[in-house]
Homo-oligomer: 273 residues x 2
């Protein structure tokens, strides 16, 4: 149902084909209302220049991907804390609706999930202090449980909201249907989140079969997720942000003509989102 | 820590190398206390002959894999119900500690998880009636959320226990560390299950990275799951069954000499389980 003006292009969807400028101009060309850059793309031009390009093209920013990764060194190093501060500054500069956090999985050579979660909690608290002063909202993105070891040790919406409860104002969630569609508590946890904590809504599809744990995600409508139902649930809470399309797809969408990808994205926004 | 007498060989672990007779005799040769056959292996000899081989070798049966798959035809067909009755009969004949249920994922051409779960609930109720009369315990195995589409729409221990609560006596859970290790509620849900509903405990390991969604599971100790901690949690509830090793591994354990697999399994029982 959503028209292109309510869609957002996460730069990961065409990461192999386009740089940041091409993503922004491509979004504008297709009438897509927003982009969500990954930081490596952002750094190709820098946040200031990115802001100028965004303004010139009338394109909003549904999020900046990504901060987090608090567990990567086994303790909260200055490097990790500083990098997250830079991410907050960049999010502020480009006017991102939120800074999306991929919090990190198990620390190297560790099997201790409890310790990993504790590092994440402590790290997010530090970043949040800084982000509040910068006027940037922090969005925890719970990732699918198949990424618990290597990417994020927060894996359900309920678990992410428990952490939000603990950390207070200025922190919410980025809900990605790919990561959360299977969760039997999803409906009740979306209600619990409410409009005030639903900072971002990401869409793509779960392909059946899925051939790769990371890079075989589908375009909306090509998989088994009832995306309109989930969009209905977040909109019933008052969410009125963008439907951000983030597709990791090494063998399909990353090797297509990017204008074709955006045309189909817009069509599937209308027909399958 | 567990010695071989407390380990069980799920026949899936050497499914490409051995038939049922070889699995039973191999287990006995390595001092392994039990096996858990898949039904295709069982049918190679039939349940009666299997029972004779098990008795002759002094090998117990920690479970029969698998019943379930209630969603496969989109409705509860007689064929599905009858096949589950046969599975119950086979479990009774071989003296299995439980019949393990892989309940089924989404029905063909359906995105309706709620409907799938409802089919499972209804199907399990029917099988349970039959199983109570046969004296066979039914174990729901919650599968990892990455199998929600194609194998099982029950994906957490808590969700499985909700269904057990609903269905009453004679139904419990098979807890596989591979499927559940990431769950933030695992500890509290193991307590909730208690000895009376912990029917089986399956072990293997989550490899990091994991290269295939189904057939890249690891031997205990080769991955990131803190298996001794999880075994400790179930044993704290009074579970005193077998540590059943079920490893799907197309490119590693399925192409090794099966006696080597069993030797390592026994060693890793002691050192990494």
């Amino acid at each position: 149902m959503p028209g292109p003006e309510k869609m957002s292009l996460n730069t990961a969807t065409v990461k192999q084909q386009w740089d940041l400028k091409q993503c922004i101009e491509g979004a504008a060309r297709h009438g897509i209302g927003a982009v969500s850059p990954w930081r490596d793309k952002l750094h190709e031009y820098g946040a200031e220049e990115a802001r100028r390009m965004l303004d010139a093209n009338g394109v909003a920013v549904s999020g900046l991907c990504r901060g987090g990764w608090y567990t990567g060194e086994g303790y909260l190093s200055e490097a990790v804390i500083d990098d997250n501060k830079r991410a907050v500054d960049e999010a502020a500069t480009i006017g991102a609706a939120c800074l999306v956090m991929v919090v990190g999985g198990l620390s190297p050579d560790s099997k201790d999930l409890v310790r990993a979660r504790s590092l994440v909690s402590e790290g997010l608290a530090k970043t949040l202090d800084y982000a509040r002063n910068a006027g940037v909202r922090i969005a925890i993105e719970p990732l699918h449980p198949m990424y618990a070891a290597d990417r994020a040790c927060f894996n359900t919406l309920g678990q992410a909201l428990d952490l939000c409860d603990q950390l207070g104002e200025g922190i919410g969630v980025a809900l990605d249907v790919y990561h959360c569609w299977w969760d039997p508590e999803l409906e009740s946890q979306i209600r619990r989140a409410g409009k005030d904590r639903l900072y971002a809504f990401h869409v793509c599809d779960w392909l059946n079969p899925t051939k790769d744990l990371l890079e075989d995600r589908g375009m909306m409508g090509d998989g088994v997720i009832d995306i309109p139902r989930l969009r209905g649930l977040v909109e019933a809470e008052g969410f009125d942000g963008f439907n951000e399309v983030e597709i990791f797809s090494a063998k399909d969408w990353w090797v297509r003509d990017p204008d074709e990808v955006l045309s189909i994205l817009v069509e599937r926004g209308r027909s399958a989102t």
